[in-house]
Symmetry: C2
């Protein structure tokens, strides 16, 4: 399954915890592969921060930083119900393209890096657009420092990020988190744990039992197997 | 789509060319994503070569190196029809786990590395188990030398290789190349170009038009979108 999310998206982090709780109780959890996909919620956000999220919200929806902080407080209360600490009121509004490029570079460590970036942003109010901060976070989960710097000083993996964003649009997703099971069932938003469990059950029941083999007669196949490569 | 293959598998390389020809003429080629999967045809092959492929074939099927060379010559003739040069008679029998681990480490460069490894083995009779040779091939397509050495001196990505092999077995594949479209249609062996085209057409026609969205009422979703993160 695939999960589209952004590093600075509060519902993505809360939804991640709820989904993880559902998955922990799912009897076939060891057969579920999670692939994290990129989504840029606010592509116009600057790489060098000029304001906090609270200031930005207050400016966008009116009421000033105080109103912004009060919106964040309501999210914090829900995050606390999931056992998460939340310092988003201090978080800076920043772009996430570089963070997403690193996620694509992370290979087998993508899941660990995703969690570390969300934790850094929401629980520690770190600047996840700053290259030194990104390098520290990425190496803390095991990425190679030289490779991280190569990615950050280039535009590598930008195409992969864009392809993810395009795929989300093709699925009709306008927001995140967005969960897709077997390229077949979608779930939008930080749904309750019970809803995620229902969808896991449904997707499991509906999974394809196997594949249909097409093409020539297998006796004539030009293939290599345990007995060699017949011609 | 996914293609299972091994670096030392002649039908895999010939099948790759035939599939590429079919794909080049396929009108929706830009919508087809190819993911290379690992398969170890001969896991007991040594990392330090002790014989050529011709010697191994002659020992396994009888007739000595001469018989082995004559088997390879017949494959060479078919490879020549695809415009490929073929020096497999000089190739060494070696294990491919390290080559596959590097392929998993290659990220966006996996396709380029796959072609480079097959070319090195079949067209240039290079030892694709030797770490210096692997480093040279991997860096020639753009991988970072430090990262390559880190992978080769560790056992990183061995789990990913094993997961690929297990998935092939779950699909019922006993040999390679093995092509799977949309986790739904399979093709075994180096089929003719026309067969690959038929399967591409069939898989395209049968592709899912979209996904079914499950879960709560979208008005109540806790999701972030272009208009913010409503609570």
């Amino acid at each position: 399954m695939e999960i589209w999310s952004d590093v600075v998206c509060p519902w993505c982090y809360i939804g991640k915890r709820r989904f993880e709780k559902a998955l922990a109780d799912f009897p076939h959890a060891d057969r579920v592969e999670v692939v994290w996909r990129s989504f840029q919620l606010d592509p116009s956000a600057p790489d060098r921060p000029v304001e906090t999220v609270a200031e930005h919200l207050g400016r966008k929806y009116g009421g000033g930083p105080e109103a912004g902080r009060s919106m964040i407080e309501r999210t914090s209360a829900l995050a606390a119900q999931e056992g998460m600490s939340w310092r988003q009121a201090e978080s800076l509004r920043v772009g996430t393209l570089d963070a997403h490029r690193l996620l694509h570079a992370a290979g087998e460590l993508r899941g660990e890096l995703k969690e570390a970036l969300l934790h850094a942003y929401f629980a520690e109010a770190q600047n996840v657009a700053d290259h030194e901060t990104l390098t520290r976070i990425a190496t803390s989960v095991g990425l190679d420092e030289v490779q991280v710097k190569d990615v950050l000083t280039s535009d590598r993996y930008a195409d992969e990020v864009e392809a993810d964003v395009r795929q989300a649009a093709a699925y009709g997703a306008t927001g995140v988190p967005f969960f897709v099971f077997d390229q077949r069932f979608g779930v939008s938003g930080a749904q309750p744990v019970a809803t995620f469990r229902q969808v896991l059950d449904r997707a499991w029941a509906a999974r394809e039992p196997g594949i249909e083999v097409l093409g020539g007669d297998s006796a004539d196949d030009q293939a290599c197997g345990p007995d060699g490569c017949p011609i």
